[in-house]
Amino acid sequence: MEPTEETGEPVATDTAPPALEAVGLGKTYPNGTRAVSDVDLSVPRGEIRAIVGQNGAGKSTLMKLLYGLEQPSAGQLSVHGRRVRFSGPQDAIALGVGMVHQNLMLVPSFTVAENAVLGVEPGRAGRVDRAAAAERTAALAEQSGLAVDPTARVDTVSVGMRQRAEILKALHRGARILILDEPTAVLTPQETTDLFTAVRRLRDSGMTVLFISHKLKEVREISDRVTVMRAGSVIGTVRTEESTPAQLASMMVGREMSLDVAKPPARPGARVLRVRGLSGPAVHGVSLDIAAGEIVGLAGVEGNGQTELVELLAGLRRPTAGSVTVDDTDVTHLDAAGHRRAGIAHVPEDRLSNGAALDRSIADNLIVDRHDRPPVARRGILRTRRIRELAEDLISRYAIRAPHPDAAAGALSGGNLQKVVVARELSAKPRLLLAAQLTRGVDIGAMHFMYERLLEARDAGAAVLLVSADLGELLALSDRLLVIKDGRLVARFDDPAGLTEEATGLYMLGVERHPDERITAGVR
């Protein structure tokens, strides 16, 4: 289908037209949500433009409009000076627009190469030449510096590689405008650096890049200019070098705010978690203790067993060896329910896949761990009033932007959904909190809010295991820091105060490691 060009109105004549221009763009979802309203945006060719904004500001929706995935309810779009109306992504693709979605759009059972070529497969007479697909993908990966294994099935590769596969997908279609919706949310620092290198290289070859991120540091590192959105509207666009993080943050939330994390020192109490020789899928002989009132950070390059370790501790996987006790309860062979009874709460790293039931109400999502106990249930009956009260309370305490406790969880923006998960887990008053990627995809304001809640839980006497791909966050919050590599603990810092990201990175990459005695000191 050809993109329909509207009556040729002369847009820019002498100067080169902007790669992408939106005038008065608006989008109201069928359910009445006005996600984007009256947005003017102009991105010149060859620029890396960052889009920032709070959760639910309408960034993803705007990008979907630019990619033809959603049709605007108002306004106009031009690409390279041509008025266009996209009837679908194919029109956008035809005009050289590519998009990497916030939630990756890959077919799980296909290989990286098959995903990269999907829709524009090489081969003659309706057949797919899979060898050629793999070759092309490999060549493209080489050119752009995005390392992937073309023949690996997507559901077996790391998140980082999936991300790169997504970008290759766009490149393979000859994208000249590339939209990246929170591409770094799931990446390690190393991977992020590599990605930025690749993106700069693309920019230098004439690519226009739209880049969404909640990490202002990254935004400042990569972008040429920053557009700030708030409540569906564009608040302003500034040159990156002329902006300060504080200025951007205040534009986003609409008032002044500080970005520092101030952390009072921990007062560790008795041991809560005792892990000895724990082994399981991708985890080998891990032993560690966590005391009440301390936050233990777990650093590691994605895919080194931290996901599996957390899931073992949460009872979502069965260990093959070792033992786990929480406050004298042996939970080694208990299921998830048993772990929760023992006082373990868990913020999962992928809230969409197992942190929430998207088509159920917020209230339903808030009571999953306590649905059969007072005050939520009594004598085998759910008490809807109590549930409503509980939900209202959590919604206001955790500043969840939701119209009503009965609203579907799926209608929340990513950050607000995360707040629902955190509200549930922390309100359970856990003995041990497993927090994986606590602030993934969460805006700055909410991020601070989460930090505050986390420290509150610590000070109330919870033991906390914090896993994060954001090393800065780990260093700022952890009272102690462990580093995991290939499923084994390789370093332990009992006082990470003076530690730098670079120094930690050396341990994460396996360049250095602590002797076993140091790691297991005091762990008997």
């Binding site: 077919v107 059972s109 829709g119 309706g126």
Partner: protein, 320 residues
């Protein structure tokens, strides 16, 4: 048991298995294509029935079995496309729409037959003839195999050929690529500009055509006339074969062949002094056991990876 063994090992029996299995194989492959494209096709039964009816009627009136076969297959495809319109464009639940279409096919076929022939029973008054059997001199000469394969109906040959063709289509062609992508992750397919509905429509058309071929085989191969309701639940058995075969062409073929074998066996064992109802239950008991066994083996194989197999069915069902 001696004579029974003789019969079961005879080439005639093996040939009978192929004949009995033909409609199952064709319809199950059709079901597979739709399922892989993300549209559960419960209307296989209806496609078979309308194809059986159309085929016999057209062949009877035109005098050409080939015209009958083509129109029959087209009728099967048409019904599946109707499912597509209802489900994809009109937001109908695929399962209810499938059940409704089966009902429609049952009513419409017997209505048409009555309107045209004044006979509610079927088209046996019409000389519609059967599709030819295929005798291949080369294959006929192969000892053992020759006697089994030779003289099978042309649609039985088509069923045998359909399995590799469907596998090739699914795994080697652009269409198959898109079909699997659409079934597995429609948003991903859409985001790369694949017309999701267009692909699903084509898959449904093929699905209905294959089920149609199964129906045509019944009225123009197995016998040479149409009788109302003559599919007798075969579409549902084919549906079971789709899942029993784990959504893979080869597995689906084997599952369908298994049903055919069991049925042929029941026909042979029917003369033993066992209640006929219990004999005819054998294939189903066998399927249940096989299903449990394979599931158990799969579960045991993935024991080390403690994450259980996905428990949820397709999200076709709505709840408020």
């Amino acid at each position: 048991m001696g004579p029974v063994l003789d019969v079961v090992l005879s080439t005639g029996f093996l040939a009978a298995i192929l004949g009995v299995s033909t409609p199952y194989v064709l319809a199950a492959l059709g079901g597979l294509l739709a399922e892989r494209a993300g549209v559960p096709n419960i209307a296989l039964e209806g496609s078979m029935l309308s194809a059986a009816c159309t085929g016999a009627l057209v062949a009877g009136y035109s005098g050409s079995v080939w015209a009958g076969a083509v129109c029959g297959i087209a009728a099967g495809a048409l019904l599946a496309l109707l499912l597509g319109v209802l489900h994809l464009y009109l937001g109908a639940d695929a399962i209810i729409a499938g059940i409704g279409l089966n009902l429609l096919a049952a009513g419409a076929t017997s209505y048409t037959v009555f309107a045209l022939l004044g006979d509610k029973g079927g088209t046996s008054r019409l000389h519609s003839g059967a599709l030819p059997s295929v005798r291949l001199p080369l294959i006929e000469d192969i000892p053992g195999v020759g006697a089994v394969l030779s003289g099978q109906n042309v649609l039985t040959w088509a069923a045998l050929a359909a399995t590799p063709v469907v596998a090739w289509l699914l795994y080697r062609t652009r269409f198959g690529f898109h079909l699997r992508a659409v079934g597995e992750h429609p948003e991903a397919a859409r985001s790369v500009g694949i017309h999701v509905h267009r692909v699903q429509f084509r898959a449904l058309a093929l699905s209905g055509a294959l089920a149609g071929a199964a129906g045509v085989f019944l009225s123009m191969g197995a016998v040479s006339f149409f009788v109302t309701g003559m599919t007798a639940g075969r579409g549902y058995i084919a549906l079971a074969a789709v899942f029993l075969g784990a959504l893979r062409p080869c597995g689906v073929f084997l599952a369908a062949l298994g049903f055919g074998t069991a049925e042929a066996l029941a026909v042979q064992l029917g003369n033993l002094d066992v209640p006929s109802q219990l004999v005819s239950a054998i294939p189903y008991v066998f399927t249940l056991l096989a299903l449990a066994f394979f599931a158990w083996r799969r579960r045991r194989a993935s024991r080390t990876d403690a994450a259980p197999a996905p428990l949820a069915g397709p999200a076709v069902l709505e709840s408020p």
